[in-house]
C-alpha cells in the first residue's frame, strides 16, 4: 500500500485549497485502500472527499451520504463514500455488505468510522480535519496499523 508514507500535517487556507489537496492525495490512493475521515460539522469532510473524487476523475457530484449512508461513484476506480453517523448497530453494518466495499476493487472513504473500529482493515489512512479559524483547516494524516 502506498499510503504508508503519508504521515503528515497539512494546513489549508480555504475550501478550494482543501479540495486541491484532496486532488493531489487521490494520486497516492489505490483500489482496496480505506480512508477514515473525522472532523466536526463544517470541518470540510465533504470538501476533501469532493477533491479526492475529482482527482479520481469522478464526473458525478459528490453529495453528502448522510441520508443514504453510502454513495457510490464511478471514477478511474470506484469510490465508495460512507457516512456511518446514522448507523445503529453492527447488524446494520453487516446489512450494508461492508466487506464487499472495504475489501473490494474501489477506494472506501468513511466518515464516522470510529463507530466500527473492530471491523476496519488492518491498515488504513486516518485523516482528521480540525477547524483552526473560519477558513483555515489543519489536516492530520496518520498511517494506521493495527498491532496483531
Amino acid at each position: 500500500m502506498s499510503i504508508s508514507k503519508l504521515n503528515k500535517i497539512v494546513i489549508t487556507k480555504s475550501a478550494a485549497e482543501t479540495q486541491r489537496f484532496g486532488r493531489k492525495l487521490a494520486r497516492q490512493l489505490k483500489p482496496g485502500d480505506l480512508v477514515c475521515l473525522s472532523g466536526g460539522l463544517g470541518a470540510g469532510k465533504t470538501c476533501l472527499v469532493q477533491g479526492i473524487a475529482r482527482g479520481l476523475q469522478v464526473k458525478d457530484y459528490v453529495n453528502s451520504p448522510t441520508f443514504k449512508i453510502i454513495n457510490e461513484y464511478a471514477g478511474k476506480i470506484p469510490v465508495y463514500h460512507f457516512d456511518l453517523y446514522r448507523l445503529e448497530g453492527l447488524t446494520d453494518l453487516r446489512e450494508l455488505g461492508y466487506e464487499e466495499y472495504f475489501y473490494g476493487q474501489g477506494l472506501s472513504l468513511v466518515e464516522w468510522a470510529e463507530k466500527i473500529i473492530p471491523f476496519l482493515p488492518k491498515q488504513y489512512l486516518r485523516i482528521e480535519l480540525r477547524r483552526v479559524d473560519e477558513h483555515t483547516r489543519k489536516i492530520i494524516l496518520t498511517d494506521w496499523r493495527r498491532k496483531k
Binding site: 460539522l41 457530484y61 441520508f67 443514504k68 448497530g89
Partner: protein, 351 residues
Amino acid sequence: MQNLHLITSLLQTNKDFMNILAIETSCDEASASVVQNGRKILSNVISSQIHIHAKYGGVVPELASRHHLENINFVVAEALAKARLRINDIDTLAVTQGPGLVGSLLAGIMAAKTLSLIYRLPLLPINHIEGHIYANFLEHRIKPPFLALVISGGHTELVIQRDHTHYKILGRTRDDAVGEAYDKVAKLLDLGYPGGPVIDKLAKKGDPQYIKFPRPYLTGSYDFSFSGLKTSVVNYVSKHPASSVQHLADVVASFQQAVIEVLVNKTIQTALKLKMKKIVLAGGVAANSALRGLFTDKIRKTGITLYYPSPVLCTDNAAMIGCAAYYRLKNKKLEYNQKMLTFKAAPNLQL
C-alpha cells in the same frame, strides 16, 4: 331474475372508477392510501416514526426498516377501513421503488408484492420524486409543462416536466440537500429533529436580516449548494455563541432567509428563462411557511402561477404514490401477471 343479477355484476366490473391502493415506506414514515381516479383521496394513513428517531437527531435506518415491518400490515388495513373498502374493491396496487433507504423500501415492496400475489392484483412501482410532484395533482387542476422544485431531507432538484411521465432534471444539489442543511443546523444549535419545522417556527421570532450569510447562487448553473452556508453558520456560532433565545431566533431566521432566497430567486429566474408559466413545489421543505411566503411575494407580476400541496401532502405519504400511479396508467387497465413482481428496491433510482 338470474339475468338481472348477471347484469348488475357486469355493471360492477365495468365501473367507471379506479381504486388504487398505494404503499410508501422510503424513509421514516410507513404510509398506505386508497386513491380513486387519481385525484380523490379515500384514505391516507401515515404512521410516522419521528418520535422514535428524535433522540438520535436523524433517521436511523435499521430502526426504520424494523418498525415498518411491524407497522405495515396495520397501516394497510387501516387505509382500507378508512376508505370503507375491502381488498376486492381495489383495482391496482402501487408502491415506492426508490429512491430511499434500502431497508425501508424493502418493507413496503415486500408487503405490496405479497398483496399482489395473494389477490392477483396488478402492481406498479413508482419513483418517490415523481410521487412528490404528483401530490400537487391531488389538490390542483394542473397540466404539464411546468417547472418543479423538489425539496426534502434527501433531495433538492429542479425538474422540468414536459408531459406526464416525461422529466428532465435541470439541476440538483452538489452537496447537502436543503432539508439536510436544516437538520444539521438544528443539531448544531440543539433545536431537535426534524430541523425544518423547528427552525421555521423559531425563525418567525427572529430578524432575517440580522446576519448576512452567503447566498450560494452558483451563477451559470441550475445546481444548488448548501454545505458552505452550513459552514458559515458553524463559523458564526463559534464566534458568537447564541446568548439568548432572541439571538438564537435571529441566527436561524438569517440562515433560513439565505436558503429560501436562493431557492426562490433561482427557481423563478429559471422559469422566466425557459418561459415556464407554472412553478410546482414538492417535498417536505415545500411545507415551510417562510418559503411559501417569499415565493408568493416574488412571483407577483411575473405572470407565473405557483402551486404547492397542503402540508400533509408535502411530507412522505402514499396518496401521492397512488396519484402518480394513476397518471402512469392514464385510465388503462393493468392486467396482473407474475412478471410485474420482479422489480427490486432501487435506493438511487433517478427520475
